[in-house]
Amino acid sequence: MRFRAKIVDLGCLNHFTRVSNTISKLAKTCTLRLSPDKLYFILSDKVANGGVSMWCELGQGNFFDEFQMEGVAADHNEIYLELTPENLSRALKTAQNAKTVKIKLTNKHCPCLTVAVELPSLSSSSRIVTHDIPVGVIPRKLWTDFREPTVPDFDVSIYLPVLKTMKSVVERMKNLSSHVIIEANLKGEMNLKIETDLVCITTHFKDLGNPPWASEDASQDRDSENMAEARIDIKKLLQFLAGQQVNPTKALCNIVHNRIVHFILLHEDVSLQYFIPALS
């Protein structure tokens, strides 16, 4: 099992750093899956996460100048690692002006992802910062826990409002309630609602637009004005919104009435899916 990769371009490095920062805000530990073409950051819906799950996919060619890997076996040419993403973010933070960043799988006192950063210096030889990030190698028999989630049979699919706006609305709501109801319809309308003993607050978003497949897949007798809703933990929603560092090219969510909310963010070469289950 081997892995080595190198980033030379500062733009790619910054982009990768931002992805890493986003992941570190969404999960304390997650699975890093390496395949010859792609990297995945995966959080599966265990009870410990409160039912939340995440699937983030990156095309390696858009980030790395060099990327070589050898999986556990020829017919299973992949590597699954358990990783604390905050460590990766901290390591990349030291690489802001780096000449090169190399990442490799090594075996120090335990399996590690070693990030070696070459920094410019006034002398003739560069400074080198090395970070050894401990990782856990996930055995092949557990790989089935980390399958790509299927897009649920949603009731409504809608484009999200500007995430920053959504975030500031939810931030204020967080002080008043621990749950928020997110509801949307096929007419491009979305509401965020909180209901407490003292007060009900609803923020209305209009003209958001629905993705083309929304009306195809949804059941025919669905009135386009009918709202599909889900009551979710407000902290989890805020965690998702607050973690975003990059404005996505496309941001949408699918709602399965009273079951689950499925967020999809697309940005060039990175796709992030985030599932928040509805509370009963």
Partner: protein, 370 residues
């Protein structure tokens, strides 16, 4: 004692206070003929810091009033002293003059900040008279020296998290200077990230140490001096010896000098922390095992102190190893700093007051009697 600081030097004095506050809770002031000395020591006696401001640093400096002769040495609460100089930005912008005077009649250290627009802020700090706080150390006795502009060292430690307690500094293969994060014994090695910064010898003005030389010391305390040195744009010297012997970090210019003396771990091997040891568990377990067996006597560096009213320094006699092992600071679970070798501080005892047992003095006090 009375002295007057003006202009930009007020901020320098404030910066020194910030630096010292990273070490100890009490600030010892000693007005000497050489200048005003500010000193402190940490609770576990593993770090000592002092700044000496030469008379030329002040617009006016008077160590003592002639009739009194010997100026009183006093100590104040670090928190109180620091609060006078809390905001460095404000010091720079509004304070024109700072007057420090020891008023024995009122038992107060009076610090007056004369600010713009006719505003005067007067702080009356209560003080306690005390013995001189003096650590015995001599940079000249240290075989290894590393000297670099503060900026280089600031950049060298920037990859480390501010939460990191200890760091190992050493010279590795190829004459590269290496800083490496040190994992404490109780850290979960499976989770902890290890970070290392390696710089070429060329970045240092002077590197007098052979490959393999290394020490492990408290990074947080070192950062205290480092930030001062960086703001004053000075060169910083690191004098060190074998692991276990204190390391001396010093800066100087024509108007002041500063010394931070930090204890080092008795087992510090840059190479042993390298990954290629088969069957090794966490690399830090060896430190804990060796520490308890080390011979304390061979590392004592100075004489004991006297007890004076309220003085923070407590008497210690050189004792057989068994007594040392009962020291509170070897209790498991105590913060890592307490596992450092304690520094013992010399005093300015008159010969007649010296303790009955002769103490092995391994390093003479180079700073002279106060």
């Amino acid at each position: 004692m009375k002295c007057l600081v003006t202009g930009g030097n007020v901020r320098v004095l404030g910066k020194a206070a910030h630096s010292l506050s990273r070490i100890g809770d009490e600030l010892y002031l000693e007005p000497l003929e050489d200048g005003l000395s500010l000193r402190t020591v940490n609770a576990s006696r593993s770090a000592f810091a002092c700044f000496l401001f030469a008379p030329l640093f002040f617009q006016h400096y008077q160590a003592s009033r002639p009739p009194q002769g010997q100026p009183p040495r006093c100590k104040v609460l670090m928190k109180s002293f620091l609060s006078v100089f809390r905001s460095l930005a404000a010091l720079e912008k509004t304070v024109e003059r700072c007057c420090i005077a020891l008023s024995t009649e009122n038992s107060r250290l009076v610090i007056q900040l004369h600010c713009k627009h006719g505003v005067t802020k007067t702080h009356n700090l209560s003080f306690q008279e005390c013995e001189s706080l003096q650590a015995v150390f001599d940079p000249a006795l240290c075989p290894h020296l590393l000297r670099a502009p503060a900026r280089v060292l600031v950049e060298a430690v920037s990859p480390f998290s501010p939460a990191l307690s200890e760091v190992t500094l050493g010279v590795s293969r190829g004459r590269r200077v290496v800083f490496r994060s040190y994992l404490e014994e109780d850290t979960d090695a499976a989770r902890a990230m290890m970070t290392e910064m390696s710089l070429s010898e060329e970045e240092f003005q002077q590197l007098q140490a052979q490959e393999g030389a290394s020490i492990t010391f408290c990074l947080k305390e070192f950062r205290g001096l480092l930030s001062f040195a960086e703001s004053a744009n000075l060169l910083l010297n690191i004098h060190f010896d074998v692991p276990g012997r204190p390391a001396i970090f010093s800066i100087e210019d024509s108007l002041l000098d500063g010394h931070f003396v930090l204890a080092t771990l008795s087992q510090s091997d840059l190479c042993s922390q390298e990954p290629c040891r088969p069957g090794q568990g966490t690399h830090s377990t060896t430190h804990l095992d060796d520490f308890a067996n080390d011979d304390i006597d061979s590392y004592m560096i100075a004489m004991e102190t006297t007890v004076s009213e309220g003085a923070a320094v407590t008497p210690r006699t050189p004792s057989p190893v068994s007594e040392e092992e009962a020291e509170p600071n070897v209790v498991p679970g105590t913060p890592p700093l307490k596992k450092f070798r304690s520094l013992f501080f010399g005093s300015v005892l008159a010969p007649t007051e010296s303790p009955s047992e002769p103490n092995p003095v391994l390093a003479e006090d180079s700073e002279g009697e106060g």
